[in-house]
């Protein structure tokens, strides 16, 4: 069977994270959204997935070609030169889709459905972490309080005395000692200083530095930014 996943669009509402990578590749519980879907499709018997792409298509292509081998399915890209809406990509991929006469799945790339959750529940139970997912290469210091609902990606370093609740910390980020984070997303390779307090859906884009002793409340920080002052009220830091 075949499946078409509509992966067009800039994912603007997931900025600043989507300034660095396309939305389908943003990690959700340490696995790109798109991969949750492709794995679920493969498990359901799909052997050919067509991605209708536009933004950052080369990055996507590279990632997904790697998965082809691993999952043993065929992955093709159908490239929109201009936004075609939700039905246009279907027409664009007509040739690929009509190779066989079977019915085919059509999915929006940003929909999470039951399958991933089931997988996650099994994963939690296996790891016993009260709803937290810690990559084995993440390291945690002493006297920390991690959880509930925290995911720490590969290479993440959490120093002594850190408290993290309901957060996603992406690959290679570094949280320095005695900080307190709740309901945040910390982007890839960020460095959060000592005694920092972050809460209320603060999102740090890629490679952001937060100086010691600051308070971030609902700050949306664009990539590569250095934050030297507290953000007491929600705002966007360009």
């Amino acid at each position: 069977m075949k499946a078409l996943i509509l992966v067009g669009g800039y994912g603007t509402r997931l900025r600043p994270l989507t300034l660095s990578i396309p939305k389908p590749l943003v990690d959700f519980c340490n696995k790109p959204i798109l991969l949750h879907q492709v794995e679920a499709l493969a498990a359901a018997g799909v052997d050919h997935v067509i991605l209708a792409v536009s933004y950052m298509s080369q990055v996507l292509e590279k990632e997904m070609k790697a998965q082809e081998q691993r999952l043993g399915i065929r992955i093709s890209l159908s490239h929109e030169e201009e936004p075609l809406g939700t039905a246009g990509p279907l027409a664009l991929a007509r040739d690929l889709l009509s190779e066989t006469a079977d019915p085919f799945f059509v999915l929006n790339s940003d929909v999470i459905c039951d399958f991933p959750f089931q997988a996650m529940v099994q994963f939690h139970q296996h790891h016993g972490q009260e709803g937290s997912i810690l990559d084995p290469s993440a390291s945690i210091g002493q006297n920390c309080s991690i959880g509930p609902n925290v995911s720490l990606g590969p290479g993440v370093v959490v120093e002594d005395g850190v408290c993290i609740r309901r957060c996603t910390v992406l690959r290679d980020a570094h949280i320095r000692s005695h900080s307190w984070l709740e309901s945040c997303i910390v982007g890839w390779r960020c460095r959060v200083g000592q005694w920092v307090r972050m809460e209320n859906v603060t999102v740090l884009g890629e490679d952001v530095i937060v100086n010691d002793e600051l308070y971030l409340n609902g700050a949306s920080v664009l990539p590569h930014k250095s934050i030297g002052e507290s953000v007491p009220e929600p705002r966007i830091i360009m």
Partner: protein, 425 residues
């Protein structure tokens, strides 16, 4: 032979110091680790020939005040007595009322100091200037920038003779950038003009009149004399009042914010005057940055990082991984692990839970302007609470992991969540 009089005011004064002034009279509030007026007394005790220190005010003598007086007498080997006014008599009324006590023994001159100022007290220099050219009134003055001078008593001086030609208390437009520090040296002759004012007030039937010209609009009873308006303004330009200018540290202490700023000034002075009061980093001790005072009975974990401008009081507990900066922690308070306390005053016996953040906003004078002083500090502007130092009153309990930002918490309150920009009753 010399004497000193410290004007300590009373409970009606110092309302801007609430809620801290609920627990202890403002003159006894610890600034840089010691009670506010101890800095005054230490300075007076160092002037050769100082015979006696008198405190004048209208607080009811309480345990704190009595204990302080006893301790001061023991430490400085000087009589330190409290003279209680029968009613609030203004900045000059008490001086006139207790004139016999002040003049007993025939002092050559006597210093008069307001309790709520922070200064390096150049008393010997003032004495030298006075002896060189004695006059009834010598005022200590300092410079302020033009806008801020409006918050203080302004002095127009003759630049050669240093006579005070005009004096205006809190003018509405710019008068002078020389301001009154609230520290004076009077000769015994100064009490005569005070007596004249007193007689005049009596004749005017002070009791019946509401106060037209008084900008504060306060009721004044018989016997009140305001030094600034009734004496300095009235006598300026008549060869009686002179000013001695200082470049040293000086600040008023009207609010918690200014108490923190004064703490910083005094802690800086300690480098020269009391280096033993400044904490140093020791192996197995906390990390110290800048000037920090730690009471010998306080327990501070080695992983804590303190300073600059931190004063830690008696019996305080500071837990592992605490960050404390620009703050005063009062007697018996506890800061649990990983807390972050910035620009705040933590009240007596209060507890701050783990990972909590207690933070205020400083309103310090512009550090790039050497003549800048604290602005007039109102609590509200346009109906909103102005960001200021966070104050936790006596025995306040802050739960773990919350944020208390730019807020004032009244005594004995147990909080259950975060607060920002609020007064919590």
């Amino acid at each position: 032979m010399l004497k000193a009089v410290i004007l300590i005011g009373g409970p009606q004064k110092g309302t801007r110091f609430r809620p801290l002034s609920f627990e202890v009279p403002k003159p006894l509030f610890p600034v840089a680790g010691v009670p506010m007026i101890q800095h005054h007394i230490e300075a007076c005790a160092q002037v050769p020939g100082m015979q006696e220190i008198l405190l004048i005010g209208f607080y009811q003598p309480d345990e704190a005040l009595t204990r302080f007086l006893e301790a001061a007498q023991q430490e400085f080997h000087l009589p330190v007595r409290y003279l209680q006014e029968f009613a609030p008599l203004g900045t000059g009324g008490g001086l006139y009322h207790f004139r016999d006590q002040i003049l007993a023994g025939g002092p050559e001159a006597f210093f008069v100091l307001n309790a709520d100022v922070c200064s390096d007290f150049p008393l010997s220099a003032m004495l030298d200037a006075h002896r060189h050219q004695p006059h009834p009134f010598l005022l200590l003055g300092t410079t302020a920038n033009r806008t801020q001078s409006l918050n203080y008593g302004c002095i127009v001086e003759n630049p050669q003779t240093h006579e005070v030609l005009h004096y205006v208390e809190k003018p509405s437009t710019f008068v002078s950038d020389v301001i009154n520090c609230g520290i004076y040296l009077f000769s015994p002759e100064a009490l005569k003009p005070l007596g004249d004012v007193f007689q005049r007030n009596q004749q005017d039937g002070q009791l019946c009149l509401p106060l037209g010209e008084d900008s504060s609009g306060l009721w004044r009873g018989a016997g009140t004399i305001r030094l600034e308006q009734d004496v300095f303004s009235a006598l300026a330009g008549q060869g009686q009042i002179y000013v001695y200018l200082t470049e040293g540290i000086w600040s008023q202490i009207k609010s918690a914010g200014s108490a923190l700023y004064a703490s910083r000034l005094y802690l800086g002075q300690y480098q020269l005057t009391h280096p033993e009061r400044l904490a140093k980093h020791t192996p197995g001790g906390p990390r110290i940055r800048g000037n920090v005072y730690i009471h010998p009975t306080a327990k501070v974990a080695p992983s804590a990082v303190l300073g600059p401008n931190v004063s830690i009081g008696e019996g305080v507990t500071v837990g592992e991984g605490v960050r404390l900066r620009e703050s005063i922690v009062l007697h018996g308070a506890t800061l649990q692990e990983h807390t972050c306390v910035l620009h705040s005053i933590v009240g007596w016996g209060s507890t701050v839970g783990r990972w909590a953040r207690v933070e205020g906003t400083p309103n310090d004078p512009n550090p790039n302007d050497p003549r800048a002083h604290m602005d007039s500090e109102s609590l509200f502007k346009d109906g909103k609470l102005l960001p200021a130092i966070t104050i936790l009153g006596c025995r306040v309990r802050i739960p773990a992991e919350v944020l208390i930002l730019n807020s004032i918490v009244l005594p004995h309150k147990e909080l259950s969540r975060s607060f920002t920009n609020q007064i919590i009753l």
